[in-house]
């Protein structure tokens, strides 16, 4: 369970998130809203990559401020730009990266990497240099690198950006099949139509909280 208590955030002078409180417990949560409305900032607060300038964020009772490492063990994060997510020069090494931080055995790592590659249709690229991949291929590697860690909550910031239909469906399916709680920031409204809950942000404020169908209508209203 995620709890925001009296949270707001500013970068320097600029208030990018106005004060709000919130609890999240649903399995599929969508975050939508205009460009620059504060969505990415909002989700970065959840795994402690950002610490709120006021208020507190708790994940399963852990304060992101004091227990960032613990929180990040529970919360996986797939970033907007896959180039910045890929840490290792070779695809299979990159998938192994997070697992190594967990101090798993070599065999266990190799086994999980293989499964992870297969799950995302990446087996044929296992030995490929990551910088050689096309945009869509990189995106799939980034997603695989996080889901392989089997976190309890996974945040996706624009996961279907740059993907073709086949890969989009693959990602949509992956998200829908996840055991874990998923929070998805996206402009791809189809992707979240079946979700349990949707939040709409606008100009730094949480302006709607409800079912996706209504949230999308609200959002479309905002967009004029």
């Amino acid at each position: 369970m995620i709890r925001f208590s009296g949270v707001s955030h500013r970068f320097g002078e600029r208030e990018v998130l106005k004060p709000f409180s919130l609890e999240l417990a649903e399995r599929r949560i969508a975050v939508i809203g205009a460009n620059g409305s504060g969505k990415s900032t909002f989700v970065r607060l959840i795994n402690g990559l950002l610490v709120p300038t006021s208020g507190s964020v708790f994940v399963d009772g852990l304060d992101t401020k004091s227990d960032g490492k613990g929180v990040r063990g529970k919360v996986g994060f797939v970033f907007q730009n896959p180039d910045n997510q890929i840490v290792y020069p070779v695809v299979e090494e990159d998938l192994a990266f997070g697992l190594k931080n967990r101090k798993l055995s070599k065999d266990e790592i190799a086994r999980r990497v293989e499964t992870g590659l297969a799950r995302f249709g990446l087996s044929h690229l296992a030995k490929e240099q990551t910088h050689r991949l096309s945009g869509g291929e990189k995106q799939m590697v980034a997603i695989a690198g996080v889901t392989i860690l089997e976190p309890e909550i996974i945040i996706f910031d624009e996961p279907t950006t740059l993907l073709d239909l086949r890969n989009k469906r693959r990602v949509a399916r992956t998200i829908s099949e996840l055991e874990e709680m998923a929070i998805v920031v996206t402009h791809d409204l189809d992707l979240v139509a079946e979700f349990d809950r949707a939040l709409v942000f606008d100009e730094g404020g949480l302006v709607f909280d409800g079912k996706p169908f209504d949230a999308i209508r609200h959002y479309e209203g905002l967009m004029g």
Binding site: K69, R72, F77, N81, V87, P89, E93, F97, Q129, V146
Partner: protein, 201 residues
């Protein structure tokens, strides 16, 4: 560009990276004490022979030596002028042998094995309180970043060219740096998000 590795199954390929690099360091130091014509010629012959043992060809030898050819030529000439031909040839052959041996290690060892060997070599330092995990992350990241920076550079240049500016290196430096730094920040986030380290401020 990063890896000159030629896959193979020769005894030299099969030798572990650590011992190979240690042998290279020893040979490199040892060669410093070999000054005569006969000694250096022998060293050079051994180095060349090892290439054939590794299943490499004359072409590989040429490719290893080529970038250094001009340097060696100039050095030999300067040396000959100062100390006479014999000393000059000896020095030239010693240098060529050194370069060939170093090249042999690079050609027969994948860079990931070199990295792993460095990491193993660093292990004793852990006892002295050095954070080996961080060092090995830094090593891998540097390798990942070389093509990334090169492609950022190419992309920034491409974008500049697409917008009408051809080939100004100074105009390239600032955006390249700023983009690279921003990228670094994002990558640090991604690394932490995948469970590395604990400190964060």
């Amino acid at each position: 560009m990063i890896s000159a590795y030629r896959p193979g199954t020769s005894p030299i390929h099969r030798l572990a990276a650590g011992p190979k690099m240690a042998a290279l360091a020893l040979a490199g130091t040892g060669l410093f004490f070999v000054t005569g014509l006969a000694g250096t010629a022998l060293a050079l012959a051994v180095a060349i022979a090892l290439y054939f043992v590794a299943g490499l060809t004359l072409r590989d030898i040429w490719q290893v030596l080529r970038p250094l050819l001009i340097v060696m030529l100039l050095l030999v000439l300067a040396h000959a002028w100062l100390n006479g031909w014999e000393a000059a040839f000896a020095m030239g052959m010693r240098l060529a042998a050194l370069v060939l041996l170093a090249g042999l290690v690079t050609l027969t060892t994948p860079s990931s094995a070199i990295m792993a060997a460095i990491e193993t070599g660093l292990q004793p330092l852990a006892k002295l309180g050095v954070d080996v995990e961080k060092i090995s992350l830094a090593l891998s990241l540097a390798l990942r970043f070389i093509p990334l920076i090169a492609s950022v550079g190419a992309e920034v240049r491409e974008a500049q060219r697409a917008r009408g500016l051809d080939g100004s290196l100074v105009a390239l430096a600032v955006p390249l740096l700023v983009r690279t730094l921003k990228m670094g920040e994002d990558i640090a986030d991604a690394i932490d998000a995948r469970g590395f380290g604990s400190t964060r401020k």
